[in-house]
């Protein structure tokens, strides 16, 4: 009883698809080879839109990964073969990856680098979890990220973060946590914490491997922290940005960071709560052809 249900070869600008069983209520569709190629994620995000328009029988929900989607169905309503057959029909209707235009948005977030809240998280980690970790030297993770990437100093790191447009590939791990990958610019890469950090402040921004994450709530974490931004999640909808959806960033959005000092950030964070701050979000469909042209 193998785990692979079906495998469909790559064809005309679309990646190969491997359908894997994930228990009796899920099918995992994986795209292409195990490579960090964002075009596979663009395809996944495109398929999600296709599934929303034409859900398979017994469809419950679908969630993306970097190069896959996990589809949950109700086996009391539909059998798995029918679900896979329908998924394949949706895949067949997808345009070639290079011809995709995805309905994303541009989100601009202020960031304060090396701020006191993330330094506090590093300090707590060094005093209560691991004292001799190479990534806590100097009371922050920044020296480590700089060294691991052969940069001249912190300013070069900040320039790399600020000069990059970040692609929200998927939300996962914890409620509302977006995983951001560089569309252009950053070639940063850094090992994660080992062991995991028990506390990360809400709004902290960190990097693990090539991927940047913004922490939506105080939580454990393992990414190397380099700064803090605004809240990206608010169940109570205290700012109008969260009235319709408590999650600011969605898969398919593009994020840019702009530099502010910590006082300005803290002021903006307070203004978010009394709804006098306007988040910078604009609709901006994403044409994969443009991305391919930059590369």
């Amino acid at each position: 009883m193998g785990a692979v249900i079906a495998a469909v070869r790559q064809q005309s600008g679309r990646p190969a698809i491997t359908y894997r069983q994930a228990g009796d209520r899920y099918v995992l569709a994986e795209y292409g080879d195990a490579e960090l190629d964002l075009r596979l994620n663009f395809f996944a995000v495109g398929v999600l839109t296709g599934l929303a328009e034409d859900p398979p029988p017994g469809f419950v929900e679908a969630a993306p990964g970097l190069r896959s989607i996990l589809v949950r169905f109700d086996p009391a309503v539909a059998n798995r073969d029918a679900v896979v057959e329908h998924l394949q029909a949706v895949h067949d209707r997808q345009p070639e990856v290079s011809a995709l235009t995805l309905p994303g948005r541009r989100v601009e977030l202020p960031i304060a680098f090396d701020d006191s809240a993330t330094r506090q998280a590093v300090h707590r980690y060094a005093t209560t979890i691991r004292a001799d970790a190479p990534y806590t030297e100097g009371g922050s993770n920044i020296a480590y990220v700089v060294e691991q990437n052969g940069l001249a100093g912190a300013e070069e790191l900040y320039a790399a973060i600020l000069g990059t447009e970040w692609w929200a590939a998927f939300t996962g791990f914890a409620p509302g946590l977006p995983f951001l990958f560089p569309l252009s610019g950053s070639t940063l890469n850094v090992p994660k914490y080992n062991p995991t950090r028990a506390w990360t402040p809400e709004g902290a921004v960190g990097i693990g491997g090539p991927c940047v994450a913004v922490y939506p709530v105080d939580s454990p974490g393992s990414y190397q922290l380099f700064g803090r931004t605004l809240p990206i999640y608010d169940l109570l909808g205290r700012n109008r940005a969260f009235r319709d959806d408590p999650f600011l960033i969605r898969a398919g959005d593009r994020v840019r960071f702009t530099r502010v000092d910590e006082d300005d950030l803290l002021r903006a964070r307070r203004r978010v709560l009394d709804d006098s701050y306007s988040y910078h979000v604009e609709d901006a469909p994403f044409a994969v052809a443009d991305y391919v042209a930059w590369r």
Partner: protein, 325 residues
Amino acid sequence: MTLEILDPGVCTTVQDHPGRVGLQAKGIFPSGPADDLAFRLANVLVGNAPGLAALEIPAGRFSARAHFHGLVALCGADGCGPAVNDVPVPLWESVEVRPGDVLTCTAAKGPGFRLYLAVSGGIGVPDVLGSRALHTAGALGGLDGRALIRGDLLSVGDAAPGTRLRVPQALRPAYHRHWELEVLRGPHADPDFLTAEDWRDLVTLTWRVNLNSDRLAVLLNPHRFRWARPDGGVAGDHPSNVLDGSYPVGGVIVNGDVPTILGPDGATSGGFTVVATIVQAALWKVGQLRPGQDTVRFREVGLDQARSLAAHVEFPLDPRHLETL
């Protein structure tokens, strides 16, 4: 009409079934009862509609005072000495309570770990993103996004006490110290991730349930798998690493050397291989594993078998199959 919490126990939470389904793409697992079977049976016993909220009481210790007239039912872990006004009452059947009555249970000796308390009319807490269930890691839902504390007053729905019911012994879920969990192979198993021997190890060895298990995850003892590949390629140095993907509820991930069963409040995605997935019919058992004490074995089943098991589990949930008292 309220339920007053006198002793909240270890981490008692408000839950509903099937929880907050449909938000995995937002990073939220469904929450809901870790053992949905005992939870749903308790709701049926007090005459509640399936979606109503009830309490999940891990480890058993708990005490509350009723400020209502209605039915209550306790289902789940054995050996927790349930009593109303110090008079012992049975598990698996509804009991009438009147205002001022005090319901108590002591630390559960087992087998089984979690206890469910349903009250007729259900527990009233606000609906958050489509459910009343507490997501412990995300601090959302339940009462104010947290576990219960002493002095909490939980609102109880208005419902005239109906017929008392009892789950016949033959229909009660069987609890053990050594459990067998039915799984489907994969999504990341042999031959591409594990070796055939690794898979055989997974489904023949006895796995100990780690003390640090909770609603997020049940950790098992470390094991050196051989792995079918030297490393995770671009995803990482360890062969258990894969590029991040969404996880199924009940997925058995291998994090380095540690097999881990994902629970209802667990991480929705991550970069570890999911070597097997607990079938729907066996998920309830994961909620009854005693941390630091019980052991599990995995038994591979096929899709058809998984579906017949699921139908079997549903049988006692039909009130017509229960005894009227």
